[in-house]
């Protein structure tokens, strides 16, 4: 089996948002919508302050609540053979059940049609039938696809390529020899909201702060 996933090395992560801006560039994402994003939190009292920064994206969960929640048949939000969680807007009935079911808030509903820009990436059109193509339509949802159009052409998701700190590593978690599997095996790691029992495929290693 193939289970594509990602490791984010928080020691390397510099909290700069380049991954998220790169994601917008690659995937023609309108203002106000985020497939790649971050959470920031300050802890402590002056002067003993600590900052947490966690870079976030769709976890492409093995037990994806969005897939379970989708009422259509066949499912409009579905697990693909390579482990990606993908979406088909052709069969989507705009019920937003997937959006409401996601414990990570990674699915966004389009209230308006997206606007074309001169710098849009033509490659975003390459995807499954009904998939997240060039521009999104009003009444449909969208989320990170792990750059399926790139990955299926043999290159890493753009956030991985564009991260200036090389903090993101992508690969097959079912292959014990892959870099991602090795990193997960050799490092203390965590996933977001383990209590949700979604089996996320985005793992975090090391810590952002030094203190």
């Amino acid at each position: 089996m193939t289970r594509l996933g990602m490791v984010i090395d928080l020691q390397k992560c510099v909290g700069c948002s380049a991954c998220s801006i790169g994601c917008k560039m690659e995937n023609n994402i309108p203002d106000g919508i985020f497939w790649s994003h971050y959470k920031q939190e300050t802890e402590g009292t002056f002067p003993n302050v600590k900052l947490r920064y966690i870079s976030t994206l769709c976890n492409h969960c093995t037990d994806a609540p969005c897939v379970k929640a989708c009422p259509t048949s066949p499912k409009s939000t579905y697990k693909a053979e390579n482990g990606m969680t993908l979406y088909n807007s052709d069969t989507c009935i705009s019920c937003r059940a997937c959006e409401f079911s996601c414990p990570y808030g990674q699915i966004t509903f389009n209230a308006v049609d997206a606007e074309a820009k001169p710098y849009h990436n033509p490659d975003r059109a390459l995807t499954e039938k009904g998939g997240t193509q060039g521009l999104r339509k009003k009444g449909k949802v969208e989320k990170c696809t792990f750059c399926d159009h790139r990955v299926r052409n043999g290159v890493d998701p753009f956030c991985v390529e564009t991260c200036p700190a090389n903090a993101r590593i992508f690969g097959d978690l079912d292959d014990p020899n892959s870099e991602v599997s090795q990193l997960v095996a050799k490092n203390a790691n965590f996933v977001l909201k383990p209590e949700a029992n979604t089996k996320p495929n985005v793992f975090y290693i090391n810590s952002y702060g030094k203190k």
């Binding site: 390397k12 600590k50 900052l51």
Partner: protein, 805 residues
């Protein structure tokens, strides 16, 4: 999982070399071009410095270039009245009409022998700027070529100049450092060398301890070991106390500084030392510095002033010393672009001297750049009359008794950018009848910016060449659309990062978005052609002496001029017959294809006892400063002490030649204005030009404490309680200079008694996404100066009060 159907292949675009100038990191870059459009950005993978890494702001250049609010064609003003409340009523005109009008106005000055009544402004520029910035005003007879430099960094250059002998930005060998003290800068967010630090930080923090001096908890502080939240303005007290501890604990570098003859440390608090007892090696005046300043600068003295506990001062100094010489002190504007900050700049940089990390592995230095070719000489094309008026005194008052302006060693030679508004308003030393400027927005970027509205309203004719109709453009008579430096013009830029220099080519690579021209070449050509048609041929005759180094063919239009200027300048890089150093290319096309030249390996210690100072040593007692202050005093028929008094420094006599503590001056009565304002530089600013980008607004909160599409002021909960302010309140921030309305962000990451706010929002004329969001820091900052360097003060500048709006 569901079986997936095959999908098509990715488009094959091309990565084209360019150089990013969104900040002064000046990174080499590559743009991904598909079907004549740029759709992605990365660092140039051929650069030894960044190795492909790009910071977030580099990416925003795409939205800048394709911004629907860019100026699309030349325009002229139809409302003759000028003022903040006067809509200019611009109407489109042709380039021909624009050049014709500008040429007429220049000829009026030339014919009346009034070249000195012209001022030429330069904002962001490339390395081909010499023609537009220096030669053009001289040929027109103007002494007033005004750069933006003194609102950028000049006091930061001052300290290295008068200790290290080089008034320039340092590079830092952090990969090899064991202890890094980062002072008044946030290298993971703002300039310089940002892309390189982003790439290497995970490795750097694995090997080195990091300490950050800054009243605000910065991005870099969030990935550091120590935070020293200094009271803004009191950086000098902390710096001299660190130096005191390093000396009393015997932790100075014996290899670099030398040692006591009998090996016993005589640096004992409060006690003077006999100079003859110490043998110095590569430095000058360590004992003089001790006796004049350091002996009494104990941590116990400094702590109540700078707000850093004694034990933290001692701990940091000890760890600096224990890791010496692999201890690097990085300096930014925060601790030094203050009134009297020149001495902070010397004190902070001198810490590198004490620990011996100057030009040492793991320390700081100045990697050698490229040798450039030179443009043709212009002297024979300058009329006698123009040569005479070009010698008039400059409009920025530099060199007067109260303005030494010598950040890079030239006495009275440094620019005084923000002072020009006052010069224009007072017609001192003369009235200004015409202004021309490019990639500059002084009405937005200068402290106490309303003075610029008055000044530019007073200038009868102003031509402005920029990408966006901006706050300064509001006062323009002719508005010229500028090319975007990364994608639409021939030019070159570069600096150094990761201890290796680079030069990055900038080239036209996309279908032009609008009818724009490059000011540094094409606009010069257009003006020259019109002047020639009207009988003044000198300028065009001069431009025709620019020849393609490959074919020998003279330029026949502005685009060729830009290309030939770039080729002439970079010829020692690409022409193997003129090769000097670093990467070697087999010709022009090869250089353009690779997009970046890398310099050679840095030579550690090569500059030891061979520095650009008067003594060739690293000067703790600055003979260089003494000499230059004497020249400045002589130029004004005064004594050095009189000059120091006129510039409002407290030191007299020998103390003025060593790094020392000066009581800071911050505008505003502490009772009326309880908080010291901190002008924070934003991670996504492309020098105040990116607020109209959707990605800027969408990711504004990547500056901790900022909010998307908004503008916040960060205050400590202790102060919020005192002021009756709650998190998220709309508040009015008031200083003696003015007031703005923003949102309160109550945060533990700011020292009590301070208020930090990002610069960048608060535009009122920059485009639909930028306008009307928050307030401009420069509306509350006062126009005060660091007068030895000429720097406009941005830190410890003013106190503010915050009330509910």
């Amino acid at each position: 999982g569901r079986k997936l159907e095959p999908i098509g292949a990715l488009k094959q675009g091309k990565w084209v070399g360019t150089g990013c100038q969104g900040c002064t990191s000046w990174c080499s870059s590559q743009a991904y071009v598909v079907d004549g459009r740029v759709i992605k950005i990365r660092g140039n993978v051929n650069a030894k410095s960044q190795q492909g890494a790009a910071c977030p702001r580099m990416r925003l250049a795409i939205q800048q270039a394709y911004d629907p609010d860019r100026i699309k064609q030349p325009m002229k003003r139809t409302n003759p009245k000028k003022g903040r409340s006067e809509e200019p009523k611009f109407v489109p005109i042709s380039w021909d009409e624009a050049f014709d009008t500008i040429a007429d106005k220049l000829l009026e000055l030339i014919k009346a022998n009034e070249g000195h009544k012209l001022v030429a402004f330069r904002g962001r520029y490339t390395d081909i700027n010499d023609l537009a910035y220096s030669t053009f005003p001289k040929l027109m007879g103007s002494p007033n070529n005004i750069s933006h430099s003194s609102i950028c960094a000049e006091s930061e250059k001052f300290g290295p100049m008068y200790t290290h002998g080089k008034g320039s930005y340092r590079d830092y060998d952090l990969i090899n450092s064991k202890y890094v003290l980062i002072w008044g800068m946030d290298p993971l967010a703002t300039n310089r060398q940002v892309s390189t630090w982003l790439k290497n930080w995970g490795e750097i923090i694995g090997d080195a301890k990091i300490a950050v001096v800054e009243p605000r908890f910065t991005s870099t502080a969030s990935k550091a070991d120590e935070w020293l939240p200094v009271i803004s303005g009191q950086d000098g007290a902390l710096a001299v106390a660190l130096a005191h501890v390093l000396l009393t604990k015997g932790l100075w570098s014996k290899e670099f500084v030398g040692d006591f003859k009998d090996g016993k440390n005589l640096f004992v608090a409060g006690k003077t030392v006999d100079e003859a007892a110490f043998t110095e090696k590569h430095t000058n005046g360590i004992v003089k510095w001790w006796n004049l300043e350091l002996k009494d600068r104990t941590p116990e003295w400094a702590s109540p002033l700078c707000g850093i506990p004694v034990e933290q001062i001692v701990r940091v100094a000890t760890e600096m010393g224990n890791n010496a010489p692999y201890t690097c002190v990085m300096m930014g504007g925060g601790g030094v672009m203050q009134q009297r900050g020149a001495y902070n700049s010397m004190a902070i940089h001198a810490l590198n001297g004490i620990v011996g990390s100057v030009e040492h592995e793991g320390g700081c230095g100045f990697p050698s750049g490229a040798t450039y070719g030179s443009f043709p000489a212009f002297a024979e094309f300058q009329t006698k009359e123009a040569a005479a008026t070009a010698k008039h005194k400059k409009i920025d008052h530099r060199g007067r008794l109260e303005w030494a302006n010598m950040p890079t060693g030239s006495v009275g030679g440094g620019v005084n950018t923000n002072r020009v508004a006052d010069g224009i308003l007072a017609a001192d030393p003369n009235e200004i009848k015409m202004a021309i400027g490019y990639w500059i927005n002084l009405n937005f970027s200068c402290a106490e910016n309303h003075r610029w509205d008055a000044a530019m309203a007073k200038v009868p004719f102003f031509a402005h060449c920029v990408t966006h109709n901006s706050e300064m453009s509001w006062f323009a008579d002719i508005l010229l659309p500028s090319t975007h430096h990364m994608f639409e013009q021939w030019s070159v830029t570069g600096t150094y990062q990761n201890m290796v220099a680079h030069r990055a080519i900038q080239q036209p690579m996309i279908d032009k978005v609008y009818d724009a021209k490059n000011y540094e070449s094409e606009v010069m050509w257009g003006i020259a052609e019109k002047l020639a048609a009207k009988g003044f041929t000198n300028f065009l005759d001069y431009l025709k002496t620019f020849k393609d180094p490959e074919t020998g063919k003279a330029a026949t239009n502005g685009e060729e001029l830009g290309l030939y200027m770039t080729k002439i300048l970079t010829e020692p890089i690409w022409n193997p017959e003129k090769y000097k150093s670093g990467d070697k290319f087999n010709g022009w096309n090869h250089f353009v294809e690779v997009g970046v030249w890398n310099g050679g390996a840095f030579k550690y210690k090569a500059a030891w006892s061979n520095m650009g100072t008067a003594t060739k040593k690293f000067e703790f007692y600055s003979e260089t400063l003494k000499k230059n202050l004497q020249t400045h005093a002589d130029n004004n028929k005064a004594t050095i002490d009189q000059a120091l008094a006129a510039m409002n420094y407290t030191a007299r006599g020998d103390l003025a030649f060593v790094p020392h503590y000066e009581t800071p001056i911050t505008v505003g009565d502490a009772n009326k204005y309880p908080l010291i304002f901190i002008d924070q530089k934003s991670r996504l600013n492309r020098e105040g030009r990116s607020a109209n980008c959707g990605w800027y607004q969408d990711f504004k909160d990547v500056d901790f404490g900022d909010e998307k599409n908004g503008d916040t002021i960060k205050i400590n909960p202790v102060d919020a309680t005192k002021l009756g302010i709650k998190h998220g309140d709309k508040v009015r921030v008031t200083s003696p200079a003015g007031s703005i309305e923003v949102t309160a962000f109550v945060w533990e990451g700011i020292r009590p008694g301070h208020a930090a706010k990002s610069y960048g929002q608060g535009h009122w004329n920059y485009g639909k996404k930028a306008n009307g969001k928050g307030g401009n820091n420069n509306a509350v900052l006062s126009a005060v100066y660091e007068k030895l360097s000429g720097a406009t003060v941005y830190y410890a500048n003013t106190r503010v009060n915050i009330t509910k709006a």
